[in-house]
């Protein structure tokens, strides 16, 4: 049985087109939208690997973005927060137990020209690796790559 990890951020979710959606009551719509993206991805994975185990990392802020009760059946929500979820996955090497990584809701790195809500980890930090400006999607893909895990799909805006 194949195991896949979905990392879902929100700024690059389908239908999120205004920064104002990221705060206040409007954020509930963002939650619906990223949950919809996750479900679309899950349906796609299952079309090709019906019995796959699919884990979901709610990667925006400290989590709590995904409507768990609306998820496709059988998706295992790991929780949210890079410190609480991602750090242990990486440091323990459990990231290497997956067969593939899916990145949803991705946004461009800080300073990207024409990026939508572009940032890297926070609004006030940026990262350059071997001379390359590096966003969160690259970080996640390289972390998985360090354990031999391919990143199979990236979904986000066209500047990501």
């Amino acid at each position: 049985m194949k195991r896949f990890l979905i990392c879902a951020d929100v700024e690059g979710a389908s239908g999120v087109g205004d920064e104002a959606m990221l705060s206040g009551d409007a954020f509930q719509q963002v939650r619906e939208l990223i949950t919809g993206d996750v479900n679309a991805c899950v349906r796609g994975i299952r079309r090709s690997a019906q019995d796959a185990r699919i884990d979901l990392f709610d990667a925006h802020g400290l989590g709590g973005n995904i409507f768990e009760e609306e998820l496709e059946r059988g998706v295992h929500l790991l929780g949210g927060g890079w410190v609480d979820i991602l750090f242990p996955l990486v440091s323990s090497g459990k990231l290497g137990e997956y067969d593939g990584l899916f990145l949803l809701g991705q946004h461009a790195a800080n300073g990207t020209r024409n990026g939508f809500i572009s940032h890297t980890n926070s609004e006030h930090t940026a990262l350059r690796v071997n001379g390359l400006d590096t966003g969160e999607a690259e970080q996640l893909a390289w972390l998985a790559g360090a354990y031999g895990i391919p990143t199979l799909l990236v979904v986000g805006d066209d500047a990501t």
């Binding site: 994975i45 079309r47 925006h60 990026g115 031999g148 391919p150």
Partner: protein, 146 residues
Amino acid sequence: MRTVSVKSAINRSSAECKPVEDAWHEIQAAAAEATKGLSSAVPCTVEEPVQIVSFFSHPEMAAAAKPFRDVTVDDVGAVRFESETFVDAWFRHQAMARLCPMLGLYKEAFRRFYELNGVKEMASEINAEFSALPFDETSAIPDVRY
């Protein structure tokens, strides 16, 4: 690796999105195709050892929530370091991004940056200071957007 763009990014505050149903259809199709091609997929890797430069905007600017795109070199502090592996370097960057503001190291990093008028390797000193601290202390930082 496949990519799906669900919107045209225009600027920081707005973007032109595809109809959501169209985007979901595209995501589903791409995910199915990507899963089907798993056996030939290649991991994304970066050449090691790696050199990382972590940039931090000025504390006063952070307080004013100045967008990073408006930052000039005069506003920015930077720490450069090298690691044998990307994973190790990544943890150092993450630790600095989270711990430096909390511990006052942020300010010290800027002081040194301005003194040197450029990027200075000081990873060993800073690493020594935060290496004893557990990562989970950082979860109290309220202003986090990933």
